[in-house]
Amino acid sequence: MLVAAFVMSVPFPALGQESDQGVRVRLQYQDAESGENVPAVGVVFSVTQEDGTPVGDGATDDNGEFFLAVESAGRFNLTIDPTTLPAGVTLRDPERATLTVTVDAGRAASALFGLQSGEGGAGADESDTLRRVLQLTTEGIKLGLFLAMGAIGLSLIFGTTGLVNFAHAEMITWGMFIVFLVEGFAEGIGLLPDQKLLTIALGALAALVVGGATGWLMNRFVFAPLRRKGTPLISQMVVTIGFGILARYVILYFFGGSSRFFKSVSGQSAISIGVVDITPSDLIAVILSIVVLVIVGLLLQRTRIGRAMRAVSDNRDLAESSGIDVQRVISQVWSAGGALAALGGLFLAQADQVLWEGGFRVLLLIFAGVTLGGLGTAYGALVGCLLIGLGVQLSTLFIPIELKNVGALLVMAVVLLIRPQGILGRKERIG
């Protein structure tokens, strides 16, 4: 035991290890008659290691859930037995009866099997590629919009203060957990099982308010004093890193390392719009994010506050000498950035999962989007994130899914080589 304390154990990643290391599936389908989501009960799964060694099998329980604990992290093949599906229900894509999942140490890996009821039937073969491109384009726009929610704040904070805020990732994660807490509260007062829409709307509102307040507080009590002291930007950047680590592990401390899902939106099955499948909650989140981004654009373009933000972002000294209260504008930018990031966290988590490092996982994509669009410009951040989102998703046509983020990061490097100021950035000396 004591020897073990000295012999180096793997120092970091095995944090928050809980007993839920394994493979997880939730299986639901839309009942053809009632239109409601019904768990698929008693569907048999088998799990093998990647080399084919059997690990175990089992069937979904009454909630349509299947979980198999695995002893070591790694990649596993999960095969569904389509003959055990409820009558009239088939796999949406019969070729995807076996999925490969990667189990990280201490975490459960989820796999998604698309089910359909009724005759439906998969589309004809010749239109499959086109359908896939359209589907991936939709996914890409979705991801891009959600990323942009976080990116605009990051970019505006950089524009007005010159600070690259590494803690922006945790402002996104914070948004996820604000909604998670609201859901717990809603459950406590009996709101949740029935009033799903109301719950998630309250969650979104709370994310906006609390996220905005968090941004304001961070500026008011940490970064405004640092600026007053004349702390160099690099030191401030290290402080944001410290903040990021602090917040990430505080969240891990209190909420644990397992992934969670919003009860008010989970288990929805996708609806088809034309040839594209999207879950209702994704669709609402996409529409909402477009609305929010348009509002942000209008505010930036039409209101005094927005103009002041752009002016400070453009040329701080000039803005200050024309009578703009720069510190107030910076404070507003932090508040708005915090609110948008938290809302972005909600959108990202409803499509994926609530996780202590959820924001950190997308931080590099957001950096890539912001850099691509041009650091310091709000519209650049939007354009850049949309391109990154599309790039990430569409690149899976050519490269394995596990490498999709690599493609996006390489694109960023190439753009920096050719056009260091980004797509919408103004050319100035940056070297």
């Binding site: 000295f6 950047m237 680590i245």
Partner: protein, 338 residues
């Protein structure tokens, strides 16, 4: 109330674990990595936020050379260094002309690209994916003069292999620190510091700032790679998920704690960092085990996490109240890069 608690703590064990940690493998590896980062940031002003990428390249260089390519273990060390140098070149060519914050973003992105690639099935033939390359350090340990399983000195004990790698590692760390000390007193080192202070002025004096920065990136990167090698040899395994971005930030904390731009600061910083972490962790573990901290507040699982919260707090406090760390001078190192 407090006195019986203090008396009940097993201080001998606490001291033993703290000291063991302060001179252990992790402290040694981080000291070496921080020496590399010190060349980048402390002496040249390069904002490298992807230092763990160099460690990964060094570690995977050794692992791939021995396990996948079946090469001689001494050649493998050379290959590890070459891997790190190649990364420095690939990173430096596009980014050293850019402003500091761009370099920061590109380097952290590069370190993640390396990790994701290493764990991907695409490169499985080379890196064995998420499970990594294992059991390759035997050849090195066959050199070890410490053949016993366990060596004890009073309360301290080391496994033979551990003792071997720790001693070799610390000797290397000291040699590297002396080398850095000499280099930075040389004309070459003075050019690096001039670039840190004012790149345009250095350029105006006819120095090729770009090429000097590239040399700095390669030297520091190679040292980072060596740190990565020692880490994987110590564990006899190289796995992608030991090279996560937070490691880079830990190395930064070590460097800032010691004092940026000082020869001995990486060593002292690393020993204090790991010593403090072990001290906190084991004190808290005893508190939890004795029930002085109610389980509802902290369980043994959360003790490990709590250390990281302290790292975050410590980093903020350091930057706010003592940015020069233990050894640095506030005037010389205003912690600004270009």
């Amino acid at each position: 109330m407090t006195v019986p608690i203090l008396a009940a703590i097993d201080w001998a064990q606490i001291v033993q674990l703290t000291v063991s940690s302060a001179i252990g493998v992790e402290a040694m590896v981080f000291a070496m990595a921080a020496i590399g980062l010190n060349i980048h940031f402390g002496y040249t002003g390069l904002l490298n936020f992807g230092h763990v990428g160099f460690m990964a390249m060094g570690g995977y260089g050794v692992g791939i050379a021995i396990v996948t390519w079946q090469l001689n273990p001494y050649l493998a060390i050379l290959i590890g260094v070459v891997f790190a140098l190649v990364l420095a070149l690939i990173l430096g060519v596009p980014t050293l002309r850019l402003r500091a914050d761009y370099l920061a973003i590109v380097t952290i992105a590069a370190s993640e690209v390396i990790r994701i690639m290493a764990r991907s099935t695409t490169l499985r033939g080379l890196t064995r994916g998420a499970e990594g390359l294992n059991e390759f350090a035997g050849e090195y340990y066959s050199l070890s003069p410490f053949k016993q399983n366990l060596y004890e000195w009073g309360p301290f004990f080391f496994t033979g292999n551990n003792l071997f790698i720790v001693i070799i590692g610390w000797i290397l760390v000291i040699l590297l620190a002396v080398m850095v000390w000499q280099l930075m007193r040389s004309p070459w080192g003075r050019v690096l510091k001039a670039i840190r202070e004012d790149e345009d002025a250095a350029r105006a004096l006819g120095k090729n700032a770009y090429w000097y920065k590239m040399q700095s990136l390669m030297l520091g990167g190679a040292i980072g790679g060596m740190a990565g090698m020692l880490q994987v040899i110590a564990k006899s395994t190289v796995q992608p998920d030991t090279f996560v971005p937070v490691i880079t930030f830990f190395i930064w904390t070590v460097l800032i704690l010691g004092g940026v731009g000082r020869v001995w600061s990486p060593i002292v910083g690393s020993m204090i960092f790991w010593g403090l972490l072990a001290l906190m962790e084991n004190l808290l573990r005893q508190f939890v085990a004795e029930g002085w901290i109610p389980p509802s507040l902290m369980d043994s699982n959360q003790v490990g996490i709590f250390r990281f919260i302290l790292v975050g707090l410590g980093l903020i406090a350091l930057m706010t109240f003592r940015p020069q760390g233990i050894f640095g001078s506030r005037e010389e190192m205003a912690l600004d890069a270009r």
